[in-house]
Amino acid sequence: MGTYVPNTKEEQHQMLQAIGLNSMEELYDTIPEEVRLKSPLNIPKGMSEMEVARRMRSIAGKNRVFPTVFRGCGAYRHYIPAIVKQVTSKEEFITAYTPYQAEISQGVLQSIFEYQTMICELTGMEVSNASVYDGATAAAEAIIMSKERNRKKALVSATVNPMIIETIFTYLDGTDMELEIIPAKDGLTDIKIFKDKLSSDTACVLIQQPNFYGLLEDCDEVGKMLAGTDIKYIMSCNPISLGILKTPAEYGADIAVGEGQPLGLSLSFGGPYLGFMATTSKLMRRLPGRIVGETKDSQGRRAFVLTLQAREQHIRREKASSNICSNQALCAMTAAVYLAAMGKEGLRRAAVLSMSKAHYLAERLCELEGYNLVYKGEFFNEFVTTVNADTDKILKTLEDHGILGGYPLSNNQILWCATEVNTKEEIDTLISILKEVA
């Protein structure tokens, strides 16, 4: 049996005697007999570290790592610089608590302050929080923060990732806010319907850029439509794309959110990931979660603290802007180290490479009989094609060659994705394999 209890049985006995007890069981004599467990827990006996490692490796071995991946759909395989993993493995960062004791937490606090700055730069917004759980909860929190006394309806485009929509639905269900989905036309938000639906009780609209199908929405038009109204414009963005794409601020958005996983976080079967949230100074006090601010210490030195805490649950309790407490701090630090390593040029290159590979992939796929782009609009690094056989059969064949193909949207449509890690050779190989499937 492994243990992390340092005290030996003798020491435990000494301590028990010191407090006037004879056995460990006596520690629990305030727990009534009726609720005491009568038998040991039915959990296997503990193991030595070597045995545990062997067991866990054998479990891990039942997973299959695909050397080549053309699947995105909300989780993206990008190159993770070596420095990112090294820095975020530092024990001080891993084992620290939320930085309530600012004097001995300047490292974590400064890293969050730097993260907030980078998210503001990326999105063009004025303020950012220290992170929320993921892209889906970021979108849900943004909708909740847009609520006004007389504006309680959220309009969400049908081209937003369905998982995000479902999460929003769960968050709003049972509250006084209402959700309406605006249908898509040709893979894009139907802006005309959007316009018609705006009313005096609309709190916000949510658009995803690039959208679920990889297409670029006409966010300018949405911006124009909402300019001068009290309706909050929320954009959910892919952070890598912001290396080249127009920022939410340039589109006139009030709140920018997104899934930060592409910024140096591994795929990890879906988590931990990172929700980022940024907004205007005007809405700053409505942001959920932690925010780090700069101030001075008693000696006049630069210092960082958790600030604007009057919004938060430990102060406001049921009146807080959100219940969030623990967030994804180490993931936010990961994103910050990633952005520091990439720099402006590196991020731009990751975006251009991803976009170029995806366009090359699309072009090569469309050379195949029966493969056509389903939507005609401009796209970033994901797109949908028809296929010439049942998607199950196609994807199974690719799997046999060590390739995780695109995500099947139906039995004859696939959502493909490429990033900078996909080489021309991989794409050409994919095409030659697909030629054989029909």
Partner: protein, 479 residues
Amino acid sequence: MKLIFEKGNVNRGLDLLPECDVPVYSLNEEYERKSELNLPQVSETEISRHYTELAKRTYGVNNGFYPLGSCTMKYNPKINEEMAKLPEFTDIHPLQPIHTVQGCLEVYRLAEKYLCEITGMDRIDFQPAAGAHGEFTGLKLIWAYHKERNDTKRNKIIVPDSAHGTNPASAAMAGFTVVNVPSTPDGMVDIEVLKTVVGEDTAGFMLTNPNTVGIFEEHILEITGIIHEAGGLCYYDGANLNAIMGVTRPGDMGFDVVHLNLHKTFSTPHGGGGPGSGPVGCKEFLAKYLPSPKITEKDGMLVFEEKDEKSIGRVKDFYGNFLVVVKALTYMMTLGAEGLKDVSMNAVLNANYLMHNLKDIFDIPFGKGRCMHEFVISLEELKKETSVSALDFAKTLLDYGIHPPTMYFPLIVQEALMVEPTETESKETLDEVIEIFREVYSKAHQNPQELHNSPVKAPIGRPDEVAAARNPVIRYKFS
């Protein structure tokens, strides 16, 4: 210290990505970013040194004693970290075909099985990313339960005044109204008041047991009985589970829903504020409302069952903070049934030993000289006598190289310090801490000003929080 933006130089950077091996696509100009993107322009050496310097200005469990009450800052075993770095876990796309993710499903299924056993629940769902997220999810189950029974007038969640702030905040977020019940002078739920507040509008009741003053609610069966009798459900906040593993279970105390904090009880690290994992457990009659479909074995393969149409729906992308669950499972496998119970007993022993050696001079208002895994000190008297507050006391501890206890919580205790040593501290550490606490107590009487001025040995002195909130500077401005 300088910010990373104040280091480096124009055009400095790393060479990380190759040249483009396909034709470069040029984007339609209307979609192109026009605004400047100011990111650091630094070398790898500078990044490495920058974060090493930040690490030096950070205090983790690895740096020393960390008795944050309610936070269970136990040691984070290295094998957990190593297992969570296996490429067969980190390089798995969440939407891979089911037969290629059998290892991930096995992690979830085993962790579910063990946690069900520890809590006395029938199902566990790992989707929630943190404790508060688990609370929200658990409360939505309660909400769905009443809704299905057309019992929609049940819109109130009862919360003790000693509860964690997340409890009422989560209840409000899930659409409930919060009713606070007071504690008795001995720190327990006031049962007489509880009886008067329950009724036809009671949706549920939230409690952590041992409670936030570190004592076990002895009348727990009566409490959960009162709630059930009134038609409500009982929610267990797992923040303090570290005291009772293998001894008693929320499921046996009458709770219907629980959330656990894997980053507390199950040794996964806090990461400076996350990622955590806040799985929700429930009794069978609530299982249909859970966000995730159940994992079962079918024809020798693990699969997700079809999602129940009564599910409250997902509360997050994908399946939860998977790698955190890998760490927690590694921990449970290492300890086994006996080891888990040993954890709880030693957590309680350490807390009692520490308290016993402080109680002659410190005011410990609850527990009559005994506690579970944590205890609360009140410095109200000390403050009256010496002007030294809980804040001063805490800040002075920083100069002794230890992390202070949780301050000013629970709210029902004036000048509170909440101390949770955890089981991973040795007797000699506790003996040193006892000396330090006693020394600081004497200093408070001899030289209170020194305590008001503390800390002096930390990287910074006390920051001006008022200025930070009044005139918020929450990002660096590039010139």
